[in-house]
Structures are given as structure tokens and as C-alpha cells.
Symmetry: C2
Subunit: 412 residues, 2 copies
């Protein structure tokens, strides 16, 4: 018997299930593995025996692959579990590899972000160390787009499309009153500004919103910000600002309103960069101001996913399957862009040691000298990633996703 | 010459332009009016001479009606202007009616919510008082669904669809970790709980989210809320709560965290019910908790509009045109439901004196006795309103809406 097991980890994206669908559908075609297992809640499902027979589940449901492809978040659940260093404690490693033995696992596929790639690195190192034949292959995902070695990560394009579409719609909302106003939109991305940069795609021939864009890659200067806004208010009624949640001042301190905030129930409130800038504008300029925290929908709104993103994510799942057939281990699937226009990419793989625990920031020469916008290099990079609309099925007016009910009842 | 003028007022919805499209397209068909004018920023455009020739603009652009129908917010801009009582000050009335004379206006159509219907009432009363033949007709819109005399208001169905879809997607996001957590989703609706109630439509065969729903129509009891959450946490990992921004305690005080909140820039912060409940759960239960303020996208996300809503909104614009032809004035277009299943409605009109300045609340017998959910009566009412998806055109991965650029350059 030759089996494989797949798990998902880290924060949700709308594309992480497309990669899962890619691995499963490649096996439906090629039957390389006798059984595809799934581990619930990432690596922890293997550790505490919560494992499913995905081959069985997928073949028993109509449209399983198509619906899985557009279902947000993790079908198999997630975890935030970090394996200890092998040298410190090998207990969990022994447990995992004893599971691999028992279930005749040939390959472990791990779909996730930076932390998950650390797990891929450690497990593949351990396999080598103990002379195990088990292959460990990473499939990337993160809306933050901060994994190195790949052109961009699954999940990013859809989140970028959500941000750009939302800002376009918010712009229409802000244009209706003939009074001066500032709208601050806070976007996810603690360390890398990729997603905030994608707000620039919202601009069209009649709307320059967002008028200002601030990323964590450049120090944020409050006085320069006030000046930027004041200058724009001379010619615009409505100024829309996109700001990363991770903006910091020149000393590296987060711009946030969290410091001394307590509510009337005595609870310490954590408020982000958007709220902080809202307060600054209100105090200093005394004009109408609103901050909008684009909430968790930016990572789970499958109804507005990028088809390019979902297709590429599925393709990277398939590629992982092919890499296993080719005997690769200790690698992550990567995407190489061979042309911007027409947009062309190839899948490949890279040694996990070159990827794990690194962060890909926005190159500073993709940001304008004033630090309040991105330039054409960034736009050329971003444009192809948000194109295409997947066929999401609607029933009674609502998008239909894959049921996660009773998944635990399938535990072997 | 027989002309008409249209204006839009109040807060944005995704359906208010569909009603505008309805009036214009009905005139394209029937040519009842020689020219359809538009007033920028509601009634204030008439007061200060910012008026456009909509017949000309609409005939000069391809797909004008179709694109206008799906464009969010107000194509003509909005205002929050309240006319003084006629007895107090008639200056503005004289100005408005002298404009009507000059432009040979036969009918003034005003698309808006409660405040706009107050304007319709006052202008039609004034016309009667001075013996003017000018007709004044109101076309409703509000995501709050709080106008009386009509089954539901344009804009509500789309906002309801956005809320229900978002909560379904948020539910997927919250289910991924096997740890106890509470997610509080704050929905717009200061005085009426209709939109928060629509969150109940998110439920399906695998997800009971939102597990709790609190509307402003019933006093909010913090101790009962804590008990409700604790009870659910015994059987659920993830508890999702939908709460109206307008919930109040038994003494009528808003449940909000605004009281003593100041940030580290010394600015007084206003935080809503969601943040307040987040603080309460963190303090009292000490578990993972997050609050999500469904932001202004609930009123401007045209990409997720309800086709039923847009079609009905357009139909109500057409009906207003027909009412004018029939010589009606001082009325608002209303929608009467004749059957729930199959869902059937008829347009009609009602004397504006029976509508203006009243608020339609959720009937208390549509809320469960515990005050933490809605019942089947509410669901039967809501279900048809969110069905159908409009054809929104995408270009380069983003929804295409009607340009508002240079609209002011068309001012006559």
C-alpha cells in the first residue's frame, strides 16, 4: 500500500481548499496513492489521532472537488502548532513517524504559510536523519504574500481582489456628500504591505481612491501624513487612505490606538492603525473622518475570489502530487512568472531550507519616494493576480460551500 | 414642455440607483416627459442651481441604464437637508417652486428614506397650499427597512444578502480551530433590527451560526447574554453572535464602549456594541473573542446585491413615473406582498402623511421569547428578499460601475 496524508495550517484564505482539491483530484486521475488521508487541525490531527479517509469522503459526495475549490477557510481545520527543535525534543517526531508507518504513508502534504513551512522543514530533516522514505512537501498559502522563493502565494490574489473591489465600492459611498471627508481603510498585513498595496488596483478613470497608501515597509511619519491629507483636501472633497495594520514610526513602534484605551467595562481595548489615524485627523483637521477595518472577510469572502488565484492554487496542489511521484521531499511548490503580459507562470519547487522562516517584504523601489503610494512596478506585478471570477453556486440567494458538518464523525 | 426632476437623499444603498434607472427607463419607453432632470445632492441641488440634464447624459452613454442599475450609492449624490416647517420659513419653498416654474417641472421624484419622505410631505403640502400643479412623489430606499406602509424597502434585500453571506463565510473562518471562541458581528440598524435579523438566513444544514441574535427591539440584558454564550460553549467550539449596533439596556442606554474611551492621542473614541460585548466576554469568560464590525460595505457592496432587490427597486422607479402620469402627488410608492411562496408582490402608493416620520420596528412576536433569536415568521418574510444575483460586469478582475467623474461639468 502507498498512501498519503494532507493537512492545512495557519490563518484562513479562500484558496487553501483549492490546493487541497488539487492534490485529491490529481490522485483521482492518476491513482498514485491507494488512499488519501486528511489530518484534522493541521499536524495536531496526526498527533492525537484525528484522521479521515479523504478518498472515501470525496468519492461519496457530488461536486466535491468543485465545491471544495471555492469553499473558504480550511476544510480540514487549522492549528498553530510549532514543532520543537529536533535536538530539544523528538517525542512528537516519533509519534508522527510511527503514524506514518502504521498508515503506510508515502507522502505528507502540508498546505500553509510560514509556520507550516517550518514544520515541513523539520519533518523532512527528521526523515533524512532517521533514514525514513516518507516524503514531506509544502504547498504555500497566505493572504500576506510574504513567502519567499515564489512569485506570489495562493490566497493573496483573492484577498487582493477583495481589497480592491471593496475600496472601489467604498469610494462610491464616500463621494455622495459635498463635504470634506477622510476615510481610512485598514488592511491586514502586519509585516508586509502586499495586500495594502493591492488597494491601488481600485483606481479607475473616474476615481483616484485610494488617494494615499501606506505600507509597513516605510516608516510612517504622522506630520507627513497630515500634510499629504491636507494637500489632497484642497482639490478633493473625499480622501480615501489605505493603510496597513502594521505601519510603524521611525523607531519601529506600531501606530495604534491601543496604548491607554479602556472602555466603560474596564476592559483594555486594542485598536489598530485605522482608528489611530482617525483620531489624529479628527483632532488635527477637525473634519469628518471615518475608519473602516476591512475585517476577516478579506481572507474568507469566497464569493469574490480571483479565479486566477483558485486555478493556480489548485495547480500547485496538483504539482505537489507530481513532485511526490518524482520522489521529491523537503521542498515547497513555487510559482515562477515567465511573463507579465501575457501573464504566464510555471510551477516548480524549491528546497524548503531556502524558504522557511524568511519574510518577503515589498521592495522599497516599488514604493514611491514620498512613501505614500506604490508605483507601476507594483501594479504590473499585481494586475494579473485578481482576474477572473469563479463559478460560485448560489442557493436561495446565498453562496453554497462544502459542509463541514460531521467531519469529525469520519475520524478513523 | 413637460419635464421632471429626480433627486436622491439619505444614506447609500446598492439599490437607490436602480430606482433612478427605473424612472429614466420608463421615460425612454413612454416619452411622457420632454426632459428628465437630475438634482445633485438631493434637494440642495435645486436650491443652489446644481442640476443636470439626465435625458441627455443617459442617451449619450452605452449601457447607461444597465450599469446605473448595479452601481452602488447615489449617482446624483446625497444630502442630509431637512426643510423647515412651512409656517416657520417659506424661503426655501419659494426658491424650489420658482425653479420648478423656470424649468417647467411637472413632477419632482425624491428617492430616499425617512427624512426624504418628510421633504416629499412638506413639498406636496406646499404645492397644495399655493395651488401649484407640481406633483411630488416619493420612492423609498433604506437598508434599515424601517419605513412603514410598504412590505420592505429597496436596498434592504441586498444588505440582508450581504449580511447573511458574510456571516456564512465568517462561520467557515471561525470553525477552523478546535478551541473555544466567540465571534461578535455588529450589524447596522440603530432603531430597527431588520438587518441584524437577516443574519439568521446564514444558517444551513451544517452551520447554526449566528447562534445568537440580538435586536434593538428587545432590552439587552448583559447577564442573560453571558448565560446564553456559556450555555452554547458547552456544546460548540465556536459561537457566533449577531448584534445590532442599536441594542440598549432596559433603561434605554446604548450598550457601547464609548463612555470613557480615549486613545493615546487623547482622542475620544466611539466604539460600538460589538466592541463592548467583546470586552465583556473577555473579562467575564476569559476566552478567545473577536468582534467584527460589518462596515459600510453592507450598504455599498453591489457585487453581492440581491437581484430581487434591484428588480423591485427599478420597478418602484417605474411605478413612480406611472403615478405621475396618473396625476398622483403627495404619495410614496409602496410594495404589497400578496404571497410568500410563490413570492408575489404588487406596487401601489400611499398618502405620504401616513408614512413620513414613522419607524417600522420588528414585531416583537417575530422575536423568540428569550430575546436572543428570530422565529419562522421573520424567516418567511426575509427569504424571498435576498434571492437572485445581478449580472455585474467585471473588467480586469473588478466590478464595473457607472462613472461619477465630471458629473458636475454637466451642470446646466
Amino acid at each position: 500500500m502507498r498512501n498519503c496524508i494532507i493537512a492545512q495550517s495557519g490563518g484562513p484564505t479562500v484558496a487553501i481548499n483549492a490546493s487541497l482539491a488539487g492534490v485529491i483530484s490529481e490522485n483521482i486521475t492518476g491513482h498514485f496513492f491507494d488512499t488519501v488521508y486528511g489530518s484534522l487541525n493541521g499536524i495536531t490531527g496526526i498527533l492525537d489521532g484525528r484522521v479521515l479517509n479523504l478518498s472515501e469522503i470525496s468519492s461519496s459526495q457530488n461536486d466535491f472537488i468543485d465545491t471544495l475549490k471555492v469553499t473558504p477557510a480550511m476544510y480540514l481545520g487549522s492549528c498553530r502548532h510549532k514543532l520543537p527543535a529536533i535536538s530539544e525534543n523528538s517525542e512528537e517526531y516519533k509519534k508522527i513517524f510511527s503514524f506514518f508507518d502504521e498508515f503506510e504513508i508515502d507522502t505528507f502534504f502540508y498546505i500553509g504559510g510560514n509556520d507550516s513551512m517550518d514544520t515541513v522543514l523539520k519533518l523532512s530533516d527528521y526523515a533524512r536523519k532517521i533514514g525514513s522514505d516518507v516524503k514531506v512537501i509544502g504547498i504555500p498559502k497566505t493572504i500576506d504574500n510574504d513567502l519567499i522563493g515564489t512569485d506570489h502565494t495562493p490566497g493573496f490574489g483573492s484577498a487582493a481582489k477583495y481589497i480592491a473591489s471593496s475600496i472601489r465600492e467604498i469610494a462610491h459611498d464616500t463621494y455622495i456628500y459635498p463635504v470634506k471627508s477622510v476615510t481610512i481603510v485598514e488592511v491586514m498585513g502586519r509585516d508586509a504591505g502586499w495586500l495594502t498595496a493591492a488597494s491601488a488596483l481600485a483606481r479607475n478613470e473616474y476615481s483616484a481612491a485610494p488617494h494615499l497608501i501606506y505600507l509597513p515597509e516605510k516608516p510612517f511619519d504622522i506630520e507627513a501624513f497630515i500634510e499629504d491629507v491636507q494637500k489632497l483636501l484642497k482639490t478633493n472633497n473625499s480622501v480615501v487612505v489605505a493603510v496597513s495594520e502594521g505601519i510603524r514610526d521611525k523607531d519601529g513602534n506600531y501606530i495604534s490606538a491601543s496604548g491607554t484605551v479602556t472602555d466603560n467595562f474596564g476592559h483594555q481595548q486594542l485598536s489598530g492603525a485605522g482608528k489611530a489615524l482617525e483620531g489624529i485627523i479628527a483632532d488635527r483637521l477637525g473634519i469628518k473622518v471615518r475608519s473602516v477595518e476591512v475585517n476577516i472577510l478579506q481572507r474568507c469572502a469566497s464569493h469574490l475570489a480571483s479565479l486566477t488565484d483558485l486555478d493556480e492554487s489548485m495547480e500547485q496542489g496538483r504539482k505537489a502530487h507530481l513532485l511526490s511521484q518524482a520522489g521529491e521531499s523537503g521542498v515547497m511548490v513555487v510559482l515562477k512568472r515567465t511573463s507579465d503580459d501575457p501573464y504566464l507562470t510555471e510551477t516548480d519547487c524549491l528546497d524548503i531550507h531556502k524558504i522557511a522562516n524568511e519574510v518577503k517584504s515589498v521592495p522599497t523601489d516599488w514604493i514611491n519616494p514620498e512613501g505614500n503610494d506604490v508605483n507601476e512596478k507594483m501594479l504590473t506585478y499585481l494586475r494579473p493576480l485578481i482576474t477572473g471570477e469563479p463559478k460560485v453556486r448560489y442557493e436561495n440567494g446565498l453562496p453554497v460551500y462544502l459542509s463541514v458538518e460531521h467531519l469529525t464523525s469520519h475520524i478513523i
